[in-house]
């Protein structure tokens, strides 16, 4: 067993900040696209955590293979969410979540 490096701790600090920033965006913004940008920022923090930990533990190959799966999942989430957003805009002519008070199609 060894102690994790100081550089890894700083990387985890940046990860925590990015996750907090994304949560801040999700809590304060009303625009649907902005909310998705918040989710993307959280996912950037998680990506950094995966690769930084892989590099620290000298398992960068495993971290990269997990990262590829993660990026793929991220793309599918974004594509589906943007398709939903476009459909919402077509129906309601707004992207404000405050105006989305009904699930009627």
């Amino acid at each position: 067993m060894h102690n994790l490096s100081a550089f890894w701790t700083i990387q985890m600090g940046i990860t925590a900040f990015l996750v907090f920033l994304g949560l801040y965006c999700l809590l304060t913004m009303r625009n649907l696209i902005k909310l998705l940008i918040g989710v993307e920022i959280i996912s950037k923090g998680i990506s950094l955590a995966i690769i930084a930990t892989g590099a620290e533990q000298q398992s960068i190959g495993l971290a990269q293979s997990l990262m590829i799966t993660y990026i793929l999942a991220e793309v599918i989430v974004v594509a589906t969410a943007l398709a939903i957003i476009i459909n919402i805009f077509r129906h309601t002519k707004t992207l404000d979540i405050g105006d989305l008070t009904t699930l009627k199609g």
Partner: protein, 159 residues
């Protein structure tokens, strides 16, 4: 040198949140992705870096910009005045606490024992993580089905 990449990632992520213009916000997110891919290269993960650069900074941004063009480029103000004033303060407090915690635990955390990796990346992806590939194929098909369902034009039967 590395510090500039981390600073760039943080600053452009903040810009992506605070900018009111959605297009500028999306472009800031793309620039943050470019910095993240540079960090991946520096950490010895070039394949993850290439994926981050081409897919996240490229493809996802094209999807974002297309959506912004198809909808509206106006972003409303935060939901309430309280949220607008209190949450930035909470964020500042969080940064200070985060910095203190990082300083306190720096170099003191013990790593979980892990065997040193000896296999090359292609062996890990194709032989050890084979089941991930099945999941990835399922994800792609699910995504295609979802997008097709959302953009389905209403046929004569549905009317």
């Amino acid at each position: 040198m590395d510090i500039f990449f981390y600073l760039g990632l943080t600053i452009f992520s903040i810009l992506a949140v605070i900018l009111r213009d959605l297009l500028k916000s999306a472009i800031s997110l793309a620039v943050a992705s470019i910095f993240l891919s540079m960090i991946f290269f520096r950490l010895g993960a070039p394949i993850a870096g290439v994926f981050e650069l081409s897919i996240v900074a490229g493809l996802i941004m094209v999807l974002f910009i297309s959506t912004i063009v198809l909808t509206s480029n106006v972003c409303e103000e935060p939901s309430s005045q309280t949220a607008k004033t209190i949450l930035p303060l909470v964020m500042a407090v969080f940064i200070v606490i985060d910095a203190f915690i990082v300083r306190a635990i720096m170099g003191k955390l013990v790593a979980i024992p892990a065997s040193r990796e000896t296999l090359p990346f292609n062996e890990i992806l194709w032989n050890i993580r084979t089941f991930d590939l099945v999941g990835q194929i399922a994800l792609i098909l699910a995504g295609v089905a979802a997008v097709l369902a959302f953009f389905r034009t209403r046929g004569a039967d549905d009317a």
